[in-house]
């Protein structure tokens, strides 16, 4: 189940050790991303590519904008 959150919640969760995942293409990720965010392009998002994520910590995914 996916829960939508805003910037304040993102900041609070980062403070608590949340993991950030940028799902944009690699070139865009390398141009700019949130501090500490890992890159798993949307097309590559599957069980194998996300296996390394710690399920005991919050996982926040984000894209370019809401579109």
């Amino acid at each position: 189940m996916v829960t939508d959150i805003d910037v304040r919640k993102v900041q609070a969760l980062i403070h608590e050790g949340a993991q950030l995942v940028d799902v944009l293409p690699r070139e865009e990720y390398e141009q700019q991303h949130l501090p500490g965010a890992a890159n798993i392009p949307l097309r590559e998002l599957d069980e194998k590519s996300t296996a390394w994520l710690d399920r005991d910590r919050a996982i926040i995914v984000y894209c370019y904008d809401s579109q």
Binding site: M1, V2, T3, D4, I5, D6, V7, K9, V10, Q11, L13, A18, D22, L24, Y29, E30, Q31, Q32, H33, L34, P35, G36, A37, A58, I59, I60, V61, Y62, C63, Y64, D65, S66
Partner: protein, 154 residues
């Protein structure tokens, strides 16, 4: 799983930190002066006259309790000898021009052709700083060539 619906542009629109190649670019937020005089809607001109006169940029930003921009007082557009009991709400410039933190000075300079400065705010309208035409022109002229130089000059 959690989804940050508004995405990275929302993050940057709040003036928050970034990583990646873009970290070496200069954005409007990097050039803006963060220490900007402010006042509240209900204040009287008498209380802010000296603030405006002494302000380097000659402005005082009218904000609410959450620092959301409501208006602007500019030295050049005000009669600072007017009735000091006038409320700033009656004389302020409503809805002043603003730019987002991630906008580039190369683009913002066009907005500054007809004004001395522009406010940098988040997408929610929260004041982040004041960007002057002089500072943008200096940067574009190469006087502050890199983001590192800008950081050391503040």
């Amino acid at each position: 799983m959690l989804r940050y619906t508004a995405g990275e542009m929302d993050w940057f629109a709040h003036g928050l930190a970034r990583e990646g190649a873009a970290n070496d670019e200069v954005w409007d937020s990097d050039l803006a002066e963060g220490d900007v005089p402010t006042c509240n809607l209900g204040e009287k001109l008498g209380r802010v006259q000296d603030t405006i006169r002494e302000s380097t940029a000659g402005v005082c930003v009218v904000v609410n309790n959450e620092q959301v921009v409501l208006g602007l007082l500019r030295k050049g557009a005000l009669d600072l000898n007017a009735d000091p009991d006038i409320h700033v709400e009656q004389i302020m410039e409503c809805g002043p021009r603003t730019v987002r933190p991630y906008e580039k000075p190369e683009h913002t300079i066009k907005s500054l052709k007809s004004r001395d400065s522009v406010l940098v705010t988040t997408s929610d309208g929260v004041l982040l700083g004041l960007l002057t035409r002089e500072r943008v022109e200096d940067y574009l002229a190469g006087k502050r060539a890199t983001k590192k130089d800008i950081g050391s000059g503040r």
